[in-house]
């Protein structure tokens, strides 16, 4: 299987990733992207080691492949799949949202439902072949499936200027030429390919934009406009332990007439087909099951920081603090429990794809916009000003003129200044740094704006049952019931 060496080497392919007004020479060597590339490489190394239990035999070739790229067919598969997702999530402590298993899960589910892509052009076969390519080569796919934020009052066809959102500019015998932009490929700068589509509802007038395709990041005419990288602002690992490893970077994609061969096209000028690919295939459920496994892992890590800080500051016996730690425990457990429930209620669909239970999964997702800020809020409260009562950098801890002050004034009972500062700098990178701020937005938006995600929760909850309960109850009494008697009893 692919190792970090293979992966890192493959990134030097002439891709156009723009930072500070010009293309980056080589992402694998650039200080903004090398750290996340290294982290992703480590994930591939973990999967390539059979000891980590992430491999499964591809029945078609007989070769070992990463289980995350294979659609679960039964309860045992799904349990093993979850365990594998956990192995990767543990390695990043949940701080990498778009590890290769996220879109990998989407592609796995696509492959179990090729009929959802079927049309006369053979798009279903393209999906199968794509899945095979991803699985056999351990590809890292990122995705950009949201139209650029131009105006949400209308959709692409009504925007000023042609092809603001990426659309089909030209159809050729051998493929299509696309032009326009799409937001916001997290990890795109260090991925192999990007799946480009649109999950936001379109109208029949948006047919030219109703497409789904994959594109190599190095494709001619494709530019990635990156937001400011945070890894370069990290003065050291010690000062910014999260920014310096896990900054995935997010990029706006601009397609300046990019040629996409037919084999890489999965949905073509088909508005209903866009939704079918995500929702009739189970891809949205499986991909977000992975996302919640990752999310729970990150929450656990945040709870760990909180627990440790409370102990270091000697506040962890105060009832008010115990209450906060209890609330944190509840919040983390709610997400973990939703994962258990989604696994418990998982079932095979008519295609034999074993899908996590949607009600439980979307229940957790529907609360994420409240739950994550609350967890961060509690942690921010518990750390107090300690996250700012830290030296500007690790230098103060090692320079002889300053180290003594640090040891005397910035330490806590039982731990050295180095240990204390290390912990509080980690806490700051989790709640206060620019990286942390980006994570707040990420958790709020990665699977859609909160109103969208709550829509999933609504649609995947069977309201018939509660309605029935209320109807039945309402029908059990009327205006001529024994109300008076009850009132008398109560007042007696």
């Amino acid at each position: 299987m692919r190792t970090s060496t293979d992966y890192l080497k493959s990134l030097s392919d002439g891709r156009t990733v723009i930072v500070d007004g010009k293309p980056v020479d080589d992402v694998a060597a650039d200080p903004a992207f090398a750290p996340i590339a290294r982290t992703v490489g480590e994930l591939f190394d973990i999967a390539a080691d059979p000891a980590n239990g992430m491999q499964v035999t591809d029945e078609v070739t007989g070769n070992p492949v990463n289980r995350m790229y294979v659609a679960p067919r039964n309860a045992e598969d799904l349990a093993a799949w979850r365990d594998s997702a956990q192995v990767w999530a543990n390695h990043t402590n949940g701080w990498v949202g778009r590890s290769p298993d996220h879109v990998g899960a989407f592609v796995a589910a696509f492959s179990a439902h090729p009929g959802a892509f079927a049309d006369e052009r053979g798009l279903a076969d393209n999906v199968l072949a794509f899945h095979r390519r991803v699985m056999e080569n351990d590809l890292y796919i990122s995705y950009a499936i949201i139209p650029p934020q131009v105006s949400r009052a209308t959709t692409a066809h009504a925007w000023d200027g042609d092809f603001i959102q990426v659309g089909v500019k030209e159809e050729r015998e051998d493929g299509i030429v696309v032009r326009g932009a799409q937001m916001l490929a997290t990890g795109g700068a260090v991925a192999d390919e990007i799946l480009v589509s649109c999950i936001k509802p379109l109208t029949p007038e948006d047919t030219d934009f109703a497409i789904s395709f994959t594109v190599p990041v190095a494709a001619d005419g494709l530019k990635l406009y990156c937001r400011r990288p945070y890894a370069t602002g990290a003065t050291s690992d010690f000062d910014y332990p999260l920014s310096s490893r896990y900054d995935e970077t997010d990029a706006l994609l601009v397609f300046d007439d990019v040629f996409i061969p037919w084999k890489d096209v999965f949905v073509y000028k088909d508005v209903p087909g866009l939704r079918k690919q995500f929702f009739d295939t189970g891809a949205h459920v499986l991909g977000n099951f992975q996302a919640q496994i990752r999310f729970a892992t990150k929450l656990r890590f945040l709870a760990g920081i909180a627990r440790k800080v409370a102990a270091v500051n000697g506040v962890d016996k105060f009832p008010g603090v115990v209450e906060k730690l209890g609330e944190l425990a509840s919040l983390v457990s709610v997400v973990e429990s939703a994962l258990h429930a989604a696994q418990f209620t998982a079932a095979a669909d008519e295609q034999g794809f074993f899908s996590p239970g949607a009600q439980s999964l979307y229940a957790a997702m529907g609360l994420q916009a409240e739950l994550h800020p609350r967890v961060i809020g509690i942690l921010r409260e518990l750390v107090g000003g300690g996250v700012l009562q830290v030296p500007s950098s690790v230098a103060e801890l090692v320079n002889s003129e300053t180290a003594e002050d640090m040891e005397r004034y910035v330490s806590s009972p039982g731990i050295t200044s180095v240990e204390r500062v290390k912990l509080f700098k980690l806490a700051w990178d989790a709640v206060g740094s620019e990286f942390a701020g980006r994570h707040q937005s990420y958790e709020l938006f990665y699977s859609g704006a909160p109103f969208v995600v709550k829509g999933y929760a609504f649609r995947n909850y069977d309201y018939n049952k509660p309605l029935q309960a209320v109807e039945q109850f309402l029908a059990s009494y009327g205006v001529d019931g024994p109300a008076a008697a009850v009132t008398e009893e109560v007042s007696a």
């Binding site: 009929g115 959802a116 892509f117 052009r121 279903a124 076969d125 095979r132 008519e350």
Partner: protein, 235 residues
Amino acid sequence: MTTTPTTGSPAGTATRLRLRATDGAEVEVTPTHLVVAGYTGRDRAAVQHHIDELAAIGVPEPDTIPAFYPLATTCLTTDQQIEVDGTKTSGEVEPVLIRANGTYYLTVGSDHTDREMEKVGIQLSKAACPKPIADTVIELGDPPALVDWDSIVVRSWVDGELYQEGTLATMLPITEVLDEWDQIGGSQGIALVLFGGTRPLIDGTFRYGRDWRMQLEVPGHTPIELSYTVSVRSN
């Protein structure tokens, strides 16, 4: 290698196929007709384009689209070994519809074909080789209830290497191919085995291997498998 009772029955003796339904029930079929369909692409314009391309290099146009090649039922076999005369023969995975016993069955077969002879005539090239089919079938009932056709995936391997893989979505559903045949062949009421056409090869070049494996995966069912070995008859 000689044939077993299921194949190569002497002329005039009926070929009898002993099959098993996916629920374990035994199924016996004595087909009276075997028809291999070609040019079963769903996109008629693309099919015509392909025919025109072939015509340009001298391959005669088929009489009908889809094209039908009736063969002797004695070509059918569920054997794990087949013998051929040519050295350039290869398999092709195809869905196979069987209409018999008042019901319909779906299985997988290989339109094993002599590629040298293809230049002489398609019918000849097809007739030159046995047609292996799996011994497991999915009973579809009557009328045949085709599970989601577009999601059916077929695969073939030659000598352990993947040779074909894809859905049947670009091909006419086999029941429609059958309707076309019934209009031409008027074969209602007979025991028919219909090969429904194949899909492109992964790398576009024929392979003349020894070990063939074919698979038809209907979503929600255990995949139906067929494996056979080819040997060249020595004379």
